[in-house]
């Protein structure tokens, strides 16, 4: 058997393609849900980390540091396999989304914090001097400027979340990778794995390209 029959076996790829596509659908569902939830968690955490009282600020920092240190796979196993022992039972989908959100939220919080801190002090002072309250200052002045700064790193984080959805296969989620390994077992041939890799590349490459373009555009505007 040569390398093409083993890794690029076209009949096997064609046969397993529908399975891979159904996996891709699950992957996208997990990824998008975790990304949106992570953005909400992250922005909230960033604001707490920057502006809440000392105790909450400290708690937010501890949470962020822990979530950035813990391997996602370990967290996922804890959520899915350990929590049931204390009576908390999540479906594979919820477990995967929860673990991804907890971690993505921590990274997103750091990105938002850096973005808000990159907005010049004078913008805050001008807002305050005009009598704008905290909410209007953030919504109308600070966040619109911070968003432009954070879009490239946020998009990077989205790419990471999308790739990390592959870990959901360990909690029996029929995502793209899980379907690929299953198809590999059924066909006794690793070509579906290559197919899955190609599908990941096909939908993440454009995102990577977008990041590069955004970085260039915003970088140029700053000058």
């Amino acid at each position: 058997m040569d390398i093409f029959d083993t890794f690029f076996n076209v009949p096997v790829l064609v046969r397993t393609f529908p399975l891979l596509i159904s996996g891709l659908w699950i992957t996208l569902q997990i990824g998008f849900t975790a990304i949106i939830a992570g953005l909400v968690v992250g922005l909230t955490l960033a604001l707490v980390r920057l502006y809440a009282n000392r105790i909450l600020r400290g708690l937010a920092k501890i949470y962020i540091d822990i979530m950035r240190s813990i391997p996602l796979l370990v967290l996922l196993i804890i959520v899915y396999y350990a929590l049931p022992f204390v009576g908390i039972r999540f479906s594979p989908f919820v477990s995967a989304v929860a673990a991804l959100t907890l971690v993505s939220g921590a990274y997103t919080a750091e990105i938002f914090r850096a973005g808000i801190e990159a907005v010049p002090k004078g913008q805050f002072e001008a807002s305050r001097a005009l009598g704008l309250g905290y909410r209007h200052m953030m919504v109308d002045v600070v966040l619109p400027q911070a968003i432009r700064i954070v879009i490239p790193p946020l998009t990077n984080n989205c790419i990471n979340v999308m790739k990390d959805t592959a870990l959901a296969s360990v909690v029996a989620m029929p995502d793209l990778l899980k379907q690929a390994t299953q198809a590999q077992a059924l066909a006794a041939n690793p070509s579906p794995l290559i197919g899955a890799a190609l599908i990941y590349i096909a939908f993440l490459w454009p995102l990577v390209a977008i990041v590069a373009r955004l970085e260039k555009r915003f970088g140029a505007k700053e000058r």
Partner: protein, 245 residues
């Protein structure tokens, strides 16, 4: 007559450095006060305390129109009554010139979009920037940006305006256009506190000139008294240094 801005025993420290060391000052309604002095003398800190951009010692007291300047509900009220113009303009770079001027009246005063736009266009005309209303701040010259910043502060219809070295970061040829706007404003009855190095402006426009050094008011009086017959050696030395070169 009660002072519009009343400052008592104002003390401000940054760590171990005392920036303001017991300032007492009353500023009447409609009065134009210019604050001069060497850098590091506390001039900017003084006016930044008036709208609490800097907090100050609890034993100090500032009132604006009888309202105590302190954290809490009253603060936004004070800030809405007191406009401020900064050395570095601080326009909102993501909003058009017109939107910069419209924002606070809509959000703080609750003006409708149409009312705010009309007010903004009037003010931009008054500071001579009508044609630039739809540009982004970054497309304007420094002098134009500072005039927009003045219009933005005036859009709140403040009773008092604080100017923190408004011409210090401008190219020399643009200083005049900003001072002209301020001179016109001084004739409208708005209370003005101007921290400046423009001695000519202070002499012509101020009702009163205050010389500060080392966090204290060294001397205060009519412009021609301060500039022509200063009582303190420190004032004389400072004026000698800035006027004779």
């Amino acid at each position: 007559m009660d002072a519009y801005i009343r400052i008592r025993n104002l003390i401000k420290t940054f760590g171990s450095f005392t920036a303001l060391n017991g300032i007492d000052l009353d500023i009447g309604e409609g009065e134009v006060v210019c604050v001069i002095g060497p850098s590091g003398s506390g001039k900017s800190t003084l006016i930044r305390c008036i709208n609490l951009l800097e907090d100050f010692s609890p034993e100090s007291e500032i009132t604006v129109a009888g309202i105590r300047v302190e954290k809490g509900r009253n603060l936004e009220k004070v800030r809405a009554e007191v406009g401020m113009v900064f050395q570095s303009f601080n326009l909102f770079p993501h909003l058009s010139v017109l939107r910069n001027v419209m924002l606070a009246p809509m959000r703080v005063r609750g003006l409708s979009e149409t009312e705010a736009a009309r007010r903004a266009r009037d003010l931009l005309a008054r500071v001579g920037i009508s044609e630039q209303a739809d540009k982004q701040p970054g497309q304007l010259s420094g002098g134009q940006q500072q005039r927009v910043a003045i219009a933005r502060a005036l859009a709140m219809e403040p009773k008092a305006m604080l100017f923190d070295e408004p011409t210090s970061s401008l190219d020399p040829e643009m200083v005049g256009e900003v001072l002209d706007v301020m001179r016109a404003l001084a004739g409208t009855g708005v209370t003005m506190v101007v921290v400046t190095h423009e001695m000519g402006f202070a002499r012509q426009v101020a009702d009163r000139v205050i010389f500060m050094d080392g966090g204290r008011i060294v001397e205060s009086g009519l412009p021609h008294d301060i500039f022509d017959t200063p009582k303190s050696d420190r004032t004389r030395n400072f004026l000698g240094a800035v006027l004779n070169h």
